[in-house]
């Protein structure tokens, strides 16, 4: 479980770092939507939205991940970048964990 958490955090952190280098297109779109959010917050929100959608498609989305994404979106409306980053990180991590869960050994076999 700890390994998965670390992997999920690395994925979230990595995507944020990569986004800083490669994601100028994404930044432009998000900045237009949330003019006063920092680049980091905009990217974190975009990343969380994408990962949560992937988990939903796989039928592996935790309600808590959805809740965290909603909180991130609410924080974005209030232009609170720090809160956006905090909630988006939780949403992304939990969405990853939900997807990883599908690969756990089957129970009751």
């Amino acid at each position: 479980m700890n390994v998965l958490r670390i992997a999920a955090r690395m994925a979230v952190g990595g995507s944020l770092l990569l986004g800083g280098v490669l994601g100028s297109g994404v930044h432009a779109a998000d900045d237009a939507a949330n003019p006063s959010l920092t680049d980091e917050a905009s990217l974190a929100l975009a990343n969380a939205t994408s990962v949560v959608e992937k988990a939903k498609v796989k039928g592996a989305l935790w309600t808590t991940a959805t809740g965290a994404l909603t909180q991130a979106q609410e924080a974005a409306k209030k232009q609170d970048s720090a809160a956006v980053i905090q909630h988006a990180a939780v949403a992304s991590e939990q969405a990853f964990l939900g997807m990883a869960q599908l690969g756990y050994p089957l129970m009751g076999n």
Partner: protein, 277 residues
């Protein structure tokens, strides 16, 4: 020594092959035998009572409720839906063998043409669309729920008789089986973790029922307000409780899950529209 290692490897491979090739009937027998071993005093037929089988008091309360079910008026509404003719004059009874009596136990069935599992609710909707009516939403308890609440009572007493024939049907069954045994949600539960591995144990003051028999008594009227729940609505509620965003009621994942889940109840009698806590 080498021969011994070779022999053990071969046995291991044979074991793995045997495990992979477990047939649906092997699965069902294994699950039923697990319950029988743990609870030899509970009769196979009583598995349809689920958690009530572990508590004579709860079963007595259930029997009292079922003497004069307070939700009879709801089933009557379902009967009215069933008996109302479509615009073309045909009725639901015209879409099913024996006018819809003793058919629900054959569902879900696998349709070789569409390569999909067909639930009883889907068959009801197919009847509607074939007769020029709009389909009901599977999650709408005021239409599909009520209709099913009555239509399934026409099969009370019928033995569950799910068939898995052909490789595509087996693939759908295996998909449902996988879902049943996979951990999901933040609480990290699986259906099997409760209803196969922990049958009869108490979780949050409730006994955990056995998987065989669970698919025989839906829809059910649940709780103090007798809310109507179809089996797939129950799946959604269960998923929600373990903090998983529920999947689509009537979607392929739940249909396959119902296929596997219902197979585990093969041989047990149906009794629809009962009361459950």
């Amino acid at each position: 020594m080498k021969k011994l290692i070779w022999l053990i490897s071969c046995l291991g491979c044979l074991g793995a092959v045997a495990n992979v090739q477990a047939s649906p009937e092997d699965d069902r027998r294994s699950v039923v035998q697990g319950v029988q071993k743990k609870f030899p005093d509970i009769k196979f037929e009583d598995y349809v009572h689920g958690a009530l089988a572990f508590s004579p008091d709860a079963k007595a309360q259930y029997d009292a409720v079922m003497t004069f079910p307070p939700y009879d008026a709801e089933i009557e509404k379902g009967a009215k839906l069933w008996e109302t003719s479509f615009k073309n004059g045909k009725r639901y009874a015209d879409c099913f063998p024996r006018s819809g009596k003793n058919v629900a136990g054959n569902y879900p069935m696998f349709d070789e043409k569409t390569k999909k599992v067909v639930t009883f609710e889907m068959a009801l909707n197919q009847c509607r669309t074939a007769n020029g009516e709009a389909p009901y939403k599977h999650s709408d308890m005021n239409t599909m729920g009520l209709l099913t609440a009555y239509a399934r009572t026409l099969s009370d007493g019928m033995r569950m008789n799910i068939k898995v024939e052909g490789k595509d049907a087996l693939a759908a069954y295996e998909s449902g089986k996988r879902f049943f045994h996979q951990r999901r949600g933040q609480l990290n539960f699986s259906c099997a973790g409760c209803h196969i591995s922990n049958v009869g144990n108490v979780l949050r003051t409730e006994y955990l029922s056995m998987a065989p028999g669970q698919a025989t008594h839906w829809p059910a009227f649940r709780g103090g307000d007798y809310s109507l729940f179809t089996l797939q609505r129950r799946y959604a509620a269960c998923n929600q409780m373990v903090r998983l965003v529920p999947l689509e009621i009537g979607g392929e994942e739940y249909n396959n899950l119902e296929y596997y889940h219902s197979y585990l109840s093969n041989g047990l009698p149906l009794q629809a529209s009962v009361f459950r806590k």
